[in-house]
Symmetry: C2
Subunit: 384 residues, 2 copies
């Protein structure tokens, strides 16, 4: 029986995790749940899973949950501290961090500091905080099971292998909705077009990040920290069918790949059963009549991928700047204030103006995030 | 330091194994070598690798080796008994069985009985003798590392996984030279055309067996014994590019695949270093610009695949009949006596006439082999 804590239980990953636990009757007990502010759904989840504790980041929502929870036997925590307390629970066998944004970093850090296994679905924790985490919890690599489909693929390909046998990691990218759009038409694409991902249904920011290849850049940085591989040994290959989820090339020339239908429930389930597996009734992959193609990404057309590598190689607070600038730029694009091609332009500007702090503390990272957001908004206001 | 015995050292696999050991400076000592009759090459190998013992199946060749070995400090054995003695050596850490035909079964059996690890490149040992081997050495699965590229691929995909997590094995088939030949033209194809394999350079029988899909059928039966998977859970998919060497589908819908350039040195090397790996300078796979296609095999056009499944499901001496009939039929085709499409026809006839022995002894298997060959030659003489 696995005691599981799920942070971000009302988000897309959290919901699917609960669905998987319930429908597959996994040998799990959901001991705690946390969400940002959706107290109605959290209440409904309390009825279904009877956690002993829950937390809501938003304090008003926590109050409302307290009022509506009635006879329910559940302890209700609030704020970021609430999440951290749940993440630190030494009775939890696995903490799934499925919150959005860099706020997922602290619960991840606390869970790992307490020697908990973490099923990590929060990208920013490693993209922005990887360097800090590596200093604070040197053994973190042994404790994290990735939930992202690409990283889950690599994790599966690495089972039973020695880390020193790895030559390179190869992340696949669907290429997003503009793979075949000519570069001169890119400035005109609309948010509605950018939000139509060909293969995966995801939240708005990650969908835009997929369209710009920034998401793949984040995944490269994340993979570097997760698997302890240098960025020059991590490649991206465009694979429009999203059937091969990622690959590992070994020293002897052997390449292992993990494949499947594009269904997030599979890597979510794996993070709960690894290294074991359990059968499910999700649609299986039928290789027959498949044709899988692969080609190099075009970093001229999609400069965000190059910027992410640069930020990762620079290290320090640069990835925090990259992430903050991208978040602001994506928001401005979604509001129709800047063009699609401006996203990379503004991120590059922010990175150029960034005052780098090496070996940053948590405060340095938070400050880099804050300053980048403010400065970028000023730049856009000035130029716009 | 791994003490390695190589049986079949002057054949294609044996030679490449020695090349790999030498060029990669693997941490191996070649303690014994054996060949059928090529004493000149075996002598040359003695000079390069200084084995303490060698064996030649052909007794005249063994005599000639003794005469030409001069000052060389090597013990020379002869006959099938010589091979068995080398295979049984309890100082050997790994016995590579790379001989051709069912004669590889006895050395394999003796090596396994003595608890030796076996790098198995001899198909017939398991196709024909799998049932007997499973009875004689119940723990054989833990001791065999496959050398065949498809089985090596599956073996690699199974590392770190639990056997009960496996849903099915998927063997890839290049489809051979007649994949796109229309069925009505198949009866006219010549041995020269059949000997042109699109991706792999191999001996004549296995190349013809690839053209008829019988080779893939043998591989299905071999995989069944190697990995303890029922034949109904082993599928064949045609993949003309021979980049994906085979795949494992797990219970949760995840599919792991092993890929690489079609180069036998890679699985040979892996069988010597597994579960570790070592870097080499063989051409690496470049996924960029690759397009990989998959489709179902046509068992109407290539009935040998269906016959192999049938023989495997029947069990007993039927796989021995299948193998013997195929060997005779391929020989007759290569001599221009029967048509390409007659190979399957005669194999099917032989299987229909075969007097099945269940739970066969070694003698039963040898007798089934002998009777099938004689009967089939009679049938062909009568019909031809």
């Amino acid at each position: 029986m696995l005691n599981v804590v799920i942070l971000g239980s009302t988000g897309s990953i959290g919901r699917q995790a609960l669905e998987v636990i319930e429908s597959l009757e996994l040998d799990c007990r959901v001991t705690a749940l946390a969400a940002h502010s959706n107290y109605q759904e959290l209440l409904e989840q309390c009825h279904r899973f009877s956690p002993s504790r829950v937390a809501l980041v938003d304090e008003n929502s926590a109050l409302q949950l307290k009022e509506s929870s009635g006879e329910l036997d559940v302890e209700i925590l609030q704020g970021q501290e609430g999440l951290i307390e749940l993440a630190s629970d030494r009775e939890a066998d696995l903490v799934m961090v499925a919150t959005v944004g860099f706020s997922g970093f602290l619960p991840t850090l606390y869970a790992l500091r307490n020697g908990r296994k973490v099923a990590l679905a929060n990208k920013e924790s490693l993209v922005v905080g990887g360097e800090l985490l590596a200093r604070e919890v040197p053994e973190y690599k042994e404790l994290i099971i990735p939930v992202d489909s690409e990283h889950s693929a690599i994790y599966q390909c690495l089972q039973g292998e020695k880390r020193e046998s790895v030559k390179k990691l190869i992340l696949t990218a669907s290429g997003g909705p503009f793979l075949n759009t000519s570069p001169e038409h890119l400035p005109e694409v609309t948010p509605a077009q950018a939000l139509k991902h060909p293969n995966w249904a995801m939240g708005p920011r990650i969908t835009i990040d997929s369209a710009t290849f920034m998401n793949k850049g984040f995944e490269v940085l994340e993979a570097g920290w997760l698997f302890g591989v240098e960025l020059e040994n991590i490649e991206v290959v465009v694979h429009p069918q999203s059937i091969v989820h990622s690959l590992v090339e070994y020293q002897d020339g052997s390449v292992l790949a993990q494949m499947g239908t594009p269904d997030m429930r599979v890597p979510i389930q794996y993070s709960l059963t690894a290294p074991g597996r359990k059968s499910n009734s999700f649609p299986a992959l039928d290789l027959n009549s498949q044709s899988l193609s692969f080609h190099e990404p075009d970093t001229e057309k999609f400069p965000c991928l190059r910027l992410a590598y640069e930020a990762g190689k620079t290290g320090g607070t640069m990835p925090a700047c990259l992430n903050a600038a991208d978040e602001v730029a994506v928001e401005l694009f979604l509001k129709g204030i800047i063009k699609f091609t401006d996203i990379a332009k503004y991120v590059e500007m922010a990175m150029k103006e960034h005052e780098l702090v090496s070996e940053p503390s948590l405060e340095d990272i938070i400050e880099a995030d804050r300053v980048t957001r403010n400065e970028l908004k000023k730049i856009v206001a000035r130029l716009g």
